[in-house]
């Protein structure tokens, strides 16, 4: 039963890489967006700190 599922009727070498690639694209999207936001927060914090030190 399980081996039938994994073999996908003989199309396993196409079906699983297809789902794997789609999963990788979704994971990359999440990772890249979070990394971008973390970078933007860091740059904003630095800019604010520099502005505060210039004001003093």
């Amino acid at each position: 039963m399980m081996s039938n599922f994994w073999s996908m009727g003989g199309y396993a070498r196409y079906v699983w890489p297809c789902f794997g690639f789609a999963g990788a694209v979704l994971a990359w999207n999440l990772w890249a967006a979070r990394r971008l936001l973390a970078g933007a927060r860091l740059r904003s914090a630095r800019a604010l700190a520099m502005a505060a030190s210039d004001a003093r």
Binding site: F5, M8, G9, G10, Y11, Y14, V15, P17, C18, F19, F21, A22, V25, L26, W28, N29, L30, A32, A33, R34, L36, L37, G39, A40, R41, R43, S44, A45, A47, L48, A51
Partner: protein
């Protein structure tokens, strides 16, 4: 009545709304994709012609639809930014471009993996495949143009113009299977009339489509927050926003 609409032009308001919406959209996406995957891979019956290879539809079709939907959002946001000079429009367009490009790449690669057992080739210069490839190139062009200028405002305007002009390719991708002889099969769900699938195959597909839409919303929220912060780095509201 229109206050909520005008507020969408305010960077701090958009930043807050995006931060609040993101976890809900991501949670909804996870539920919809989980149902779609389980029902589509384990419970939908094999296709009478394509056997189990048809299951690739559950990622290929939502990916392809999203590549066009994201483009429409990017073009609309670009048009709003150009006409009304609303900076948030540029932020939404800049945030959408890499997401749309990734969905176009997903549609091309998963389609190629589906094409090999069905057509006997990973690639053919077919109208649908070629116009989808052009869509990917337009996304790459929009992203490259935005970063090609030293002045970010000029980059935003140039990228917005290309995004608006490139929208002409969207109907070409969608109707290519109708206008020209194509190896690619016709529309399955996005068409006039009833979808050409039984419910046991259709519901998982609709669920995956919904899941991908919600996922786009979640990633868009995160990227829009970053784009707004990058554009408003010196603004007073940013201090409070980055504390939370």
């Amino acid at each position: 009545m229109w206050t909520w609409f005008y507020k969408l032009a305010s960077p701090p308001h958009v930043y807050g709304v995006a931060a609040a919406l993101m976890p809900w959209l991501l949670g909804g996406a996870a539920l919809a994709v989980a149902y779609g995957l389980i029902a589509g891979l384990a419970f939908a019956p094999p296709d009478y012609q394509q056997g189990d290879a048809f299951r690739m539809i559950y990622v290929h079709v939502p990916g392809a639809i999203l590549s066009l939907t994201v483009y429409m959002v990017m073009a609309a946001a670009s048009a709003v930014a150009l006409v009304w000079r609303i900076k948030v429009g540029h932020a939404v367009a800049a945030a959408s471009a890499p997401i749309g490009a990734s969905f176009a790449l997903m549609a091309l690669v998963t389609g190629s993996l589906w094409g090999r057992p069905m057509w006997g080739a990973y690639w053919a210069w077919d109208p649908r495949l070629t116009s989808e490839l052009i869509l990917l190139f337009i996304y790459i062009g929009v992203m490259s143009l935005r970063s090609a200028f030293e002045d970010p405002a000029r980059g935003d305007r140039a990228a917005a113009l290309l995004a608006v002009v490139g929208v002409v390719n969207v109907p070409i991708v969608h109707f290519s299977v109708v206008w020209w002889n194509s190896l690619h099969q016709g529309a399955t769900i996005v068409k006039l009339g009833t979808p050409s699938m039984p419910g046991s195959m259709l519901w998982p597909l609709l669920s995956m489509w919904l899941g991908f839409m919600l996922f786009y919303g979640a990633v868009l929220c995160t990227r829009v927050q970053a784009e707004v912060l990058n554009r408003e780095r010196q603004a007073a509201w940013v201090r409070e926003a980055i504390k939370s």
